[in-house]
C-alpha cells in the first residue's frame, strides 16, 4: 500500500515539478547559447544593440526566476499537494482509502524528499551548460575542495558523518513536516485556515528559536577559553551544531505526532 | 411493464400483478417462474420485497417451490381457473358498486352491460 500511495503522490507532485526543471534547463542552455553567439554583441550599436539587450535581459530574467523557483518551488508544490489531497474535496477520496494516517504522511514525506533531492541535483546540474568547455573547471573543483575542508575542520570535526546524516534528514523531511504541521493545525480554525497555518508557523518559530539557543549554548560552558586553537573551537562548535540539529529533529518529531493526531481526530474537511 | 401506486405496500401490488399474469396466461401453467433478481431489476424493486411477494404466492399454492429446480407455476388448472374467476369477480363487484353510486340497481346494471357491450 505504501508503494502505491507513494507512486500516486510522486505523480501528483511531478506534474508540476518536471515542467519547472525543463524550464530551468532550457533557460540555462539559452543563456549559455546566448553568451556564446552574441557575446561580442555588446560592442555593436543602434538597433542590433537594443535587440541584444532586450533578448539578453529576457533570457536572464527567465533563468534567474527559474533558479529561484527550483529552490522554493518544490516546497510550494509540496504544500499545495498536501492541502489538496487531504484537506479539500479530494480528502473525501484519499482519507477513505484503506490506509493509515501514518502511511499517508510517510508516503508524502518520501515523495517530497525524492523531489527535494532531485531539485537540488537539477539545480547543481543547471550550471553544467556553463561549465562545459570551460577551462576553469579544475580550478573550481580545487576551490570547492578547500572550502569543504575548512568547514569540516571548523564545524564538523568529530561526528562529521552523524551531523551530515542528521542534517540531511532535517533538510529532506523536517521542512515538509513543518509545512504539514502548519496546514493541518491551521485548518482547526474554521474559515481562517491560512491565518491558522500562519499562527502555527509563528508558534514553531518562537518555540524553536527561543529554546534551541539555550539548549545549544549549554555546550558552551565546557569550552575552556584558555586553550584557543582550531581543534577545541571546532569541537565546541560541532557540539553546538549537533545539539541544535538534534533539538530541531525533536521538534519535528513532535510536530509529526501532533499532525497525525489532528488529522485523525480533529479534521473537518469542508 | 410494472406499475405501482403509492398507497399500498409494493409486495402486495407485486403479488396482485403476478396473479394477473398467471390468470391471463402470460405465465403458463407449469412454467418456470422468473427469479427474484430478474423481477427486482426489471421492476426496480427491492429484492427482499420481491421475495416477500413470491412467498405469498407460494403460500397460496399458485406457485410451487421445488428445492433445487426453483419456482414453478402450478399445473393445477382448476386453481388457475378459480384465480381468474376471483379476479373477475372483483372487477364485477367494482362495476356494480360504481353503477350503484350512479343510481343503477344490480339488474339494471347487468342489462346495461349487455346493451353496451357491442358499442365498446
Amino acid at each position: 500500500m505504501l508503494g502505491k500511495l507513494f507512486k500516486y503522490d510522486l505523480k501528483s507532485l511531478g506534474r508540476f515539478i518536471f515542467p519547472l526543471y525543463a524550464v530551468l534547463f532550457g533557460s540555462a542552455i539559452a543563456v549559455r547559447l546566448f553568451l556564446e553567439l552574441f557575446g561580442s554583441g555588446a560592442d555593436s550599436q543602434g538597433a542590433a544593440s537594443f535587440v541584444y539587450t532586450l533578448l539578453g535581459s529576457v533570457i536572464a530574467i527567465v533563468y534567474f526566476l527559474s533558479i529561484v523557483a527550483s529552490i522554493f518551488g518544490v516546497y510550494v508544490v509540496i504544500a499545495i499537494n498536501y492541502h489538496k489531497s487531504l484537506m479539500s474535496d479530494r480528502g473525501y477520496f484519499y482519507l477513505t482509502l484503506p490506509v493509515s494516517h501514518d502511511m499517508h504522511l510517510i508516503s508524502k514525506l518520501l515523495a517530497g524528499a525524492l523531489l527535494i533531492l532531485l531539485s537540488a541535483a537539477v539545480f547543481v546540474l543547471s550550471f553544467l551548460p556553463f561549465i562545459i568547455g570551460n577551462v576553469q573547471l579544475p580550478e573550481i573543483l580545487d576551490v570547492l575542495g578547500k572550502v569543504w575542508e575548512t568547514i569540516r575542520e571548523l564545524f564538523l570535526s568529530k561526528n562529521a558523518w552523524l551531523i551530515l546524516t542528521l542534517l540531511a534528514i532535517g533538510y529532506l523531511f523536517g521542512i515538509q513536516i513543518l509545512i504539514f504541521f502548519c496546514i493541518t493545525v491551521g485548518q482547526l480554525i474554521p474559515n481562517h485556515r491560512v491565518l491558522g497555518a500562519f499562527l502555527a508557523f509563528i508558534a514553531h518559530m518562537i518555540l524553536s528559536r527561543s529554546i534551541s539557543g539555550i539548549f545549544a549554548a549549554a555546550g558552551l560552558e565546557r569550552l575552556d577559553i584558555e586553550i584557543f586553537d582550531m581543534a577545541t573551537v571546532g569541537e565546541a562548535l560541532s557540539g553546538i551544531l549537533l545539539r541544535s540539529i538534534i533539538y530541531y529533529l525533536i521538534i519535528y518529531a513532535v510536530e509529526y505526532v501532533i499532525t497525525r493526531f489532528v488529522m485523525k481526530h480533529k479534521l473537518n474537511i469542508e | 411493464m410494472w406499475e405501482f401506486t403509492d398507497d399500498k405496500p409494493i409486495y402486495l401490488q407485486l403479488t396482485e400483478q403476478m396473479c394477473l399474469r398467471i390468470a391471463n396466461g402470460t405465465y403458463k401453467p407449469g412454467e418456470k417462474f422468473p427469479s427474484v433478481r430478474d423481477v427486482a431489476t426489471e421492476a426496480g424493486v427491492n429484492p427482499n420485497t420481491v421475495q416477500r411477494a413470491f412467498s405469498e404466492l407460494e403460500r397460496s399454492g399458485i406457485v410451487c417451490a421445488q428445492r433445487t429446480a426453483g419456482r414453478f407455476i402450478t399445473e393445477d388448472s382448476d386453481m388457475i381457473y378459480k384465480l381468474r374467476e376471483n379476479l373477475a369477480k372483483e372487477h364485477a363487484d367494482n362495476y356494480l358498486k360504481k353503477m350503484a353510486s350512479l343510481g343503477y340497481s344490480r339488474n339494471e346494471a347487468a342489462d346495461f352491460l349487455s346493451k353496451v357491450k357491442e358499442e365498446l
Binding site: D89, R90, G91, T96, V99 | K8
Partner: protein, 232 residues
C-alpha cells in the same frame, strides 16, 4: 441477520451547533436503507462519521464491531456528494487507481458500466461534464464488492435515464452480505428500491421503519409521509 453498522448515542457538535443528536441505530446486511432528510439534517455528518472523516463528539459508531479505521475502510464503498477524485487523471487511470487500493474492485464491472453509460475511458476526468463525473464516481464505487455501500446523493445530479440505470445497478449488485445506505432527497425515485426508511430531522431519527410497514399502516407512500413530516 448480521449487523454491519451500529451507532450508539452518536453525537456530533460543530462548535456549538448540534449536527447529530444521540443517534441510535443498527443496519443489517442484505438491506437497502434510505437515509432521508432535508438539507442540514445531519445526513452528511453521519455519513462522514461512518467513513472516519469526522470523529464523534460523544457516543460511538461501529462497523463490524470496530471503530472506523483501516479495516472499516476496506469494506466500505463510499460515494461522496462531491467530486472527490483527482481530476488530472484520465478515467482509465482512475479505474486503475481504484483497483490498486481496493482488493474487492472489479475492472470488468467498471469497464462494462462505463461503456453502458457511453463514457470514454481515455478522457481526462476534468474535461467531463459534472453529470458524467458523478457517473464515473458512482461506477467506481459500485464496481467494488463491499460490505457497506454509503451512497451520498447518488442520483441527484444525473438525468432520469441514467437514474434508472443507476438504481437498476444497485439492485443488480444486491447481495445478502452487503448493506446499501442511500442518502437522498429524491425519495420518489428510490422508494421502491428501499427496504427501510430512516427520517433524520435536526440530527435525530424521527422514523425508522420498513417501507412496507409505512405504506400498510399509514396508507401513503414514504414520499408523501416525508412531505408531511418535513412540511415547511
Amino acid at each position: 441477520m448480521s449487523i454491519i453498522l451500529e451507532a450508539r448515542d452518536l453525537t456530533k457538535y460543530y462548535g456549538r451547533d448540534l449536527a447529530v443528536d444521540n443517534l441510535n441505530l443498527t443496519l443489517e446486511k442484505g438491506q437497502i436503507i434510505g437515509l432521508l432528510g432535508p438539507n442540514g439534517s445531519g445526513k452528511t455528518t453521519f455519513i462522514k462519521m461512518i467513513n472516519g472523516l469526522l470523529t464523534p463528539t460523544s457516543g460511538m459508531i461501529l462497523i463490524n464491531g470496530e471503530k472506523p479505521g483501516v479495516n472499516s475502510k476496506k469494506v466500505i464503498s463510499y460515494l461522496p456528494e462531491r467530486c472527490a477524485l483527482p481530476d488530472w487523471m484520465k478515467v482509465k487511470e482512475l479505474v486503475k487507481m481504484y483497483g490498486d487500493f481496493f482488493t474487492d474492485f472489479s475492472y470488468d464491472k467498471a469497464r462494462t458500466m462505463l461503456s453502458d453509460l457511453h463514457l470514454d475511458e481515455n478522457k481526462p476526468y476534468k474535461t467531463l461534464s459534472k453529470g458524467n463525473r458523478e457517473k464515473v464516481q458512482l461506477i467506481l464505487a459500485m464496481s467494488r464488492q463491499a460490505e457497506l455501500y454509503c451512497l451520498d446523493e447518488p442520483i441527484g445530479g444525473v438525468d432520469p435515464a441514467a437514474r434508472d440505470y443507476i438504481l437498476r445497478t444497485i439492485l443488480q449488485n444486491y447481495n445478502e452480505e452487503a448493506a446499501v445506505l442511500i442518502s437522498t432527497h429524491l425519495i420518489q425515485d428510490v422508494e421502491s428500491t428501499l427496504d427501510r426508511a430512516l427520517f433524520l430531522k435536526e440530527g435525530q431519527i424521527v422514523l425508522n421503519d420498513t417501507v412496507d410497514n409505512i405504506r400498510e399502516q399509514r396508507g401513503k407512500s414514504v414520499d408523501a409521509l416525508f412531505r408531511e413530516v418535513f412540511a415547511c
